[in-house]
């Protein structure tokens, strides 16, 4: 090979790798910009009251978003319980059992579901779970969010199950394990890191959704009992406060955004920690 060619290849190597570094740097800078903005604008509103008090009307100090914080956690819990199993098992089906055409149809449909605007999903969940019983509920909100969790979970589960090398499966089968046992004890654990990433990504995405909650979970200025009543949530509070005329409410909206991020962060950390512990056993 001519030395010119080698020089070209080497410089291309250097340039492209630097570009990837620049790209990663750009994305991370955007993240820090957003975080910085939130902290700058909302940081002053973060006090003990914010986490423990109910919302107060404008002009009164000491109001907080305690019910919205708890509400978001409850809604995410519902979304996880309803949507993650469907996503997980459907992903297992696509990766392990599926026939060619049926799998194609399911995959295609999952992508379609992912593209439905969140407000349409909210209207759908409302038509099924709110209108017939004539009241809003945390449950309906959980359903709406649960539907949105499914596509990302399916995609990542399938993708990472497929990525498990064939020889691991063959080894398990050679030891006499049945199909499902192989999947449950060998393949899934091997893919668990990627699958968990997908699940957490899906939950993170729905944590910030407003539109699907407007007609299902509705919102609540007070504490919400159980699962069958309207419930407050951070995204809806942010939406309500951000378009109001008062500076104090704007700051609270930014603070709520910060708390939401922190919530997702802690949940992520917690989930990964638990996974690491269970694998280490």
């Amino acid at each position: 090979m001519s030395s010119r060619r080698i020089v070209w290849r080497k410089s291309l190597n250097y340039v492209m790798l630097t570009l990837t570094g620049i790209a990663a740097f750009a994305v991370v800078s955007v993240l820090f910009l957003i975080l910085g903005y939130l902290i700058w604008n909302g940081g002053t509103s973060l006090n003990w009251n914010f986490f423990t008090q109910l919302p107060k009307p404008v002009g009164e100090t000491g109001g907080g978003m305690a019910n919205a914080i708890v509400g978001t956690m409850k809604l995410l819990f519902l979304a996880a319980v309803m949507g993650l199993p469907i996503g997980l098992f459907a992903g297992v089906y696509l990766a392990e059992f599926g026939g060619k055409t049926f799998s194609f149809v399911v995959r295609y449909t999952t992508d379609l579901l992912n593209g439905v605007p969140s407000i349409v999903i909210g209207i759908f969940a409302s038509a099924l779970f709110v209108l017939p019983v004539k009241h809003f509920s945390a449950f309906a909100g959980g359903v709406a969010l649960g539907i949105m969790v499914i596509p990302i979970t399916v995609r990542s589960t399938e993708e990472f199950l497929r990525a498990v090398p064939g020889n691991m499966r063959e080894a398990a089968m050679a030891l006499g394990a049945s199909r499902w046992k192989t999947i449950a004890t060998v393949v899934l654990p091997a893919a668990s890191g990627g699958i968990l990433t997908g699940m957490l990504l899906a939950l993170a995405r729905v944590a910030g959704e407003t539109a699907p909650l407007l007609f299902t979970a509705f919102g609540n200025r007070f504490w919400s009992q159980g699962w069958g009543q309207p419930i407050a949530s951070l995204p809806v509070m942010i939406y309500t406060y951000a378009v109001a005329p008062y500076d104090d409410w704007h700051r609270q909206a930014w603070a709520a955004g910060l708390v939401l991020l922190a919530l997702v962060l802690v949940s992520n950390l917690g989930a990964r920690f638990i996974l690491a512990r269970s694998k280490a056993v």
């Binding site: 990837t20 579901l113 439905v116 605007p117 407000i119 499914i150 394990a177 990433t197 951070l234």
Partner: protein, 332 residues
């Protein structure tokens, strides 16, 4: 059930007939197959129900406007004249823009994080980027208004108009007047919103590429970049394409952030700096205040149209994948 000591594998080759079925059933495989099949079918059920609801509730509008709904450029709630053309245009333009910006950026970042960065740095950064996915779209919208829009109006827009705007053909994409809000701004905000999906999933997939592949390439004398671009990335191609599908879907269905920075003018304009509107943004904006059955029905029909667009775009993307299949991918 299976003794590790036996040398003959317990696995019986699948045979037709009730005895084999019973055998598989007892071993739990059939049940596992059925259970997972049920869940997969549940997705089909949910989506079908959704489409059914959309179809039923848009009946009034469909029968009233027929196919003309697709190319009518007017959206007039007062005179009950509804057409989806400007919104179809806006949706396509913003989504394509978002992907054009996000895919190279996201893929490059994912490559960096999986190939070049030390593992714990990569883990931490990736973890933080995942956080971007949870920022509510309202906040993205506000950030767009406070940061991107002024930048576009004062610096970026004029720059584009004076440089690229003067080129033939391409220049038509960058004409004034420039308000700061518009297709390009919406595309940029969308790109930021979908890039975490691409990075997160692509990075994980790239990490699963077996080391042997990289090593083989290096052994053949490839530079780091060549090994990455020509061996590793193609191996992970389906996963990366999957992340792009996720990004596309999010871009098509995004409402809040887009509506705050796109300018909301129901017009078709070749300039990317002009204001426009998208389907999702229109539905979200007008649904709560829509009075009148035809109005509501037209909004639902817009939802149906978006579904159709998603359907077609997904199909096109899949055809593209198949067409560019040149081998080098992971055996399916």
């Amino acid at each position: 059930m299976s003794a590790a000591a036996t040398t003959i594998a317990h696995e019986v080759p699948p045979q037709a007939g009730p005895r084999a079925f019973l055998h598989r059933l007892r071993r739990g495989d059939e049940i596992a197959h059925l259970i997972t099949l049920t869940f997969a079918a549940a997705i089909l059920l949910i989506t079908s129900l959704l489409v059914y609801e959309l179809w039923i509730n848009s009946h009034l509008s469909r029968t009233h406007f027929g196919w003309a709904f697709f190319w009518t450029k007017v959206w007039d709630p007062n005179f009950d004249n509804f057409g989806a053309a400007p919104f179809i245009y806006g949706t396509l333009v913003t989504s394509v823009l978002a992907l054009l910006l996000a895919v190279p950026l996201g893929l490059a970042s994912a490559i960096f994080l999986s190939e070049l960065a030390p593992r714990n740095v990569s883990d931490t950064i990736s973890f933080l980027i995942d956080l971007l996915a949870s920022v509510p779209s309202v906040i993205y919208g506000l950030l767009g208004i406070f940061i991107v829009v002024p930048l576009m109006r004062t610096t970026f827009g004029p720059l584009l108009i004076h440089t690229v705007g003067n080129l033939p053909y391409v220049g038509a994409l960058f004409r004034g007047p420039n308000y700061g809000v518009g297709f390009l701004t919406a595309g940029i905000v969308l790109a930021i919103m979908v890039v975490p999906f691409i990075i997160s999933v692509s990075r994980e997939v790239l990490l699963t590429v077996p080391r042997e592949q990289r090593e083989a390439a290096m052994a053949l004398g490839a530079t780091r970049w060549e090994s990455t671009w020509q061996v590793v990335v193609p191996w992970a191609r389906t996963g990366i394409m999957g992340s792009v599908f996720l990004a596309l879907a999010r871009a098509l269905g995004e409402t809040m952030a887009v509506t705050m920075v796109i300018g909301n003018a129901a017009v078709i304009n070749t300039s990317l700096l002009a204001p426009g509107d998208t389907i999702a943004s229109t539905i979200a904006n007008q649904f709560t205040e829509a009075t009148g059955d035809l109005y509501l029905s037209a909004l639902i029909e817009l939802g149906l149209v978006l579904f159709l667009i998603t359907f077609i775009l997904n199909g096109l993307a899949r055809i593209l994948i198949v067409a560019t299949e040149r081998g080098g991918g992971r055996p399916a």
